[in-house]
């Protein structure tokens, strides 16, 4: 039975990917990308990787789709005719695909408990992390504590993305009375529905943020979900009102302070005489220290991710507004 679910999901993934290649309408392509992400999230759920599935759904299907739609608003929705020869790309893609298939021929049998990935590093995470880190969700233990340095790096990657977007587009609004109002002023139904939904979304984001220790969730997903709530507000009520709630400048400080909060935990543990990001030293009891550490760094991640996503939305939206005026 489970094989059938796998086959159907993977088949749909392949179909979606093929459709994306041949479609010229970029709006449809963006929608298909969203579908692709949802399908991958389902595959991850079948594989029991709920944390990854949750991230894929929130980031891949959620916020990426919104940002790609924001790009389409700037660039137009049909693909330009490509004049380059397609031979070389087809060759490169075929060779890469063939190499990947060749690589799987000696792959350890799928799902076998004797595989190296289950036998070498993983047993310690499974057996000792409840004692050492004390969290029921081992995925969070690994990503926030054992491999916390990677997660700090990923947070900085997100921060770098904001620096890139600010450098390229910037957030500038021409404030005068002629600026047409963005948003959906006439759509009362949309506005009311949004007003009801937004608080719930924010509440859910907070739940995801602080529930990461116990179940799927954490800073990345929570930041994205909270940003989605504010983007919804910006879309329905207009950019000006959204920026009145959270100004672009404040977002910059938020993005920076999230990274600083994370790295600050590391500095603090260094001052306590330990290594960078050694949470054991944050409290007299090592396990309590791990708890504090993970709580704070997840908060740092959430703040930065939220601020960066909203910054990117602001940058795209204010650019669209400017090009509409011209």
């Amino acid at each position: 039975m489970i094989e059938w679910i796998d086959l159907i999901l993977l088949g749909m993934l392949a179909l979606t990917a093929l459709r994306v290649i041949f479609l010229k309408d970029l709006f449809a392509v963006v929608m298909l990308f969203g579908i692709y992400s949802f399908l991958s999230a389902l595959v991850f759920i079948v594989l029991d990787a709920v944390d990854v599935a949750f991230t894929e759904a929130a980031v891949g299907a959620g916020i990426s789709t919104v940002l790609m739609l924001g790009t389409l608003a700037l660039t137009g929705r049909t693909e330009k005719e490509n004049t380059h020869s397609k031979l070389l790309p087809i060759l490169v893609v075929s060779v890469t695909g063939a190499a990947l298939i060749y690589g799987t021929l000696d792959m350890p049998p799928f799902g076998n408990p004797d595989n190296p990935i289950h036998q070498h590093v993983a047993p310690r995470y499974i057996e000792d992390s409840p004692k050492e880190v004390g969290l029921p969700n081992m995925v969070t233990s690994v990503l926030a504590s054992y491999r916390g340095f990677d997660t700090l790096g990923e947070t900085v990657v997100v921060f770098s993305a904001a620096i890139g977007v600010l450098a390229l587009l910037g957030i500038r609004r021409e404030e005068d009375n002629n600026t047409p109002e963005s948003g959906f002023k006439e759509h009362r139904v949309l506005q009311i529905v949004a007003k009801i939904t937004i608080p719930l979304v924010i509440l859910f984001a907070l739940y995801v943020q602080f529930h990461g220790d116990f179940g799927p969730g954490g800073g990345f997903q929570a930041g994205v979900i909270a940003a989605a709530a504010f983007i919804l507000y910006g879309l329905v009520f207009g950019l000006a009102k959204s920026m009145a709630v959270i100004s672009p400048m404040f977002l910059r400080y938020m993005a920076a302070s999230g990274v600083l909060l994370y790295a600050g935990v590391g500095l603090f543990s260094m001052m306590q005489g330990g290594n960078f990001l050694d949470y054991n030293l944050l409290a007299s009891d090592p396990v309590a220290g791990q708890h504090y550490g993970i709580l704070i760094i997840e908060l740092g991640v959430g703040i930065t991710v939220f601020a960066v996503m909203l910054t990117i939305f602001y940058a795209f939206a204010s650019q669209t507004e400017r090009s509409n005026i011209q």
Partner: protein, 500 residues
């Protein structure tokens, strides 16, 4: 506290300074912060190199978790040596950029420029120091994103297409590396480099490991711009602001060369990559084509930055050639050239940046008559140019000397000939620019605005030029470090002495 955490500081300092810069907001304090942080990082790197040369490898467990469960930072001679070059160049470039970017980057973006520079530095240091294959990928992402941003900052709008091209190619390269690391993880169950090295031996001839090697080599080759995967590099270096080009040309691709060395020698092991897979023939072939083809193309360019960019691809050819000789001297010449090339290209691109600062152009025609008008800048350019050619008493000679020695050790006469042929082509492309500068009269329109570049640009430029000559005469420091690093790498990452 500092003593114990020294190994992590070259990453942590710029990593924390970048968000701090955003909070500071004003350009001047950010510049001071960035320069201080970069300066501290270079002093720390020197200290680290000294430590690894005297007491052996430094291992640092981030978060207090021992490898392979946690992430290990691992400093041996090879990465400490490259780290010294990267952090020192970064500091000099920051000194240089204060005036240079005024002409080339919009004022509103100066703060973002320094922030992106800090992020790039943090990423590069991270790639160098880490002992974990996935952690390396994370830092590769940080440095890459920062690099694309840096390239796109120029006033010249052509930089946008160049940056986009770089982004597409760079992302493909990074994805390939990630796929490769994924395949290795699937087969070994670990991400720590040393642990990978011991466990890969168990699965030597499996198709999964072979494919992983292929993906990693191709991915890294894109990142280090090995011919024919170099097409992103010339436009990016030509249209980026000069300070950015000076920084990237002497650090980013060099760090990628280090990544290739690390994967081949420490993780996969030289005997597997070269004897079982025969990788050396492919690398050698592309390296030689790169030297000739790109040196030739360099001589055809109208723009000096573009000439130097193609020259960089050719110089990378020398490094890869050294690696592909599969002996200690060859690898040593490759590592030596990473360091030496950083000195030469840093000085050359700074000189071009100084010309751009005065004339607003980097075309060869702008260089006419500059020998008299900007004597110090052109003297710096000439000396660094001689170093690229490989004239004795410059660092360029030293690395080529060892490369030729390595080739002769293997009785590869044609390679020794190729190195000399490449040098002749370098005479042509550097000679054209010098000819314009010293033997041609300037265009009337330009005469009025030409004067010597400001001191803030001359000082870092000349520090590099003096280093070019100093390390060309007193070679004990660089050759000893490179030799030691190469010997260690050939021992296949065997642990010498581990400090807690």
């Amino acid at each position: 506290m500092l003593e114990q955490n020294l190994a992590a500081l070259p990453i942590i300092l710029p990593l924390i300074a970048a968000p701090l810069a955003i909070i500071l907001g004003r350009t001047m304090p950010i510049w001071i912060l960035a320069t201080l942080v970069s300066g501290c990082a270079s002093i720390i790197s020197l200290q680290l190199l000294d430590t690894v040369l005297t007491t052996g490898v430094i291992s640092y467990a981030v978060g207090g978790w021992q490898a392979p469960w946690g992430i290990e930072l691992r400093i041996d001679t090879a990465n400490a040596f490259v780290l010294v070059a990267v952090t020192a160049i970064s500091t000099l470039v920051l000194l240089f950029s204060k005036d240079s970017i005024v002409k080339e980057i919009d004022c509103s973006k100066h703060a973002l420029f320094y922030t992106a520079h800090l992020l790039c530095l943090a990423g590069l240091s991270g790639i160098l120091i880490t002992g974990d294959a996935f952690n390396l990928f994370v830092f590769l992402e940080i440095s890459s994103l920062a690099t694309y941003t840096l390239v796109s900052l120029a006033r010249d709008k052509r930089c946008l297409t160049a940056a986009f091209r770089y982004l597409v190619m760079g992302t493909i390269g990074a994805t390939f590396i990630l796929i490769g690391v994924g395949l290795l993880y699937m087969k070994t169950g670990t991400l720590n480099m040393l642990d990978l090295a011991t466990r890969i031996d168990l699965y030597d001839s499996s198709r999964t490991i072979n494919t992983g090697l292929a993906f990693i080599i191709v991915g890294v080759s894109i990142k280090l711009a090995l011919f024919p995967l170099h097409m992103w590099l010339p436009p990016a270096y030509t249209h980026a602001p000069s300070a950015v080009t000076a920084f990237l040309a002497s650090t980013a691709t060099k760090v990628a060369v280090y990544v290739m060395v690390r994967f081949i020698f420490t993780i996969f092991g030289a005997s597997y990559v070269f004897h079982s897979m025969g990788m050396e023939t492919i690398l050698m072939l592309f390296a030689i084509i790169a030297i000739f083809k790109c040196s030739y193309t360099a001589a055809m360019q109208k723009n000096v930055k573009s000439t130097l960019a193609y020259s960089s691809v050719a110089q990378i050819g020398y490094m890869v050639l050294g690696i592909s000789l599969v002996n200690v001297t060859g690898l040593m010449s490759g590592l030596l050239h990473i360091f030496n090339h950083a000195l030469m290209k840093g000085a050359l691109f700074m000189a071009v940046g100084a010309v751009f600062y005065r004339l607003g152009s980097a075309d060869i025609s702008a260089f006419k008559g500059l020998g008299k008008r900007m004597p110090l800048t052109m003297a710096a350019f000439t000396l660094a140019g001689l170093s690229i050619i490989g004239v004795p008493l410059t660092v360029g000679f030293i690395s080529k000397w060892y490369l030729v020695t390595a080739a002769l050790e293997q009785s590869h006469w044609f390679i020794a000939a190729a190195v000399l042929g490449g040098s002749l082509l370098a005479v042509v492309y550097i000679g054209r620019i010098l000819e314009a500068a010293y033997f041609q009269e300037p265009d009337e329109a330009n005469v009025a605005k030409i004067s010597e570049a400001p001191l803030s640009m001359l000082i870092p430029m000349w520090i590099l030029v003096i280093a070019n000559i100093y390390f060309g005469i007193d070679t004990s420091f660089t050759t000893e470090a490179a030799q030691h690093a190469a010997e260690l790498l050939f021992q296949n990452g065997q642990v010498m002495e581990v400090k807690p």
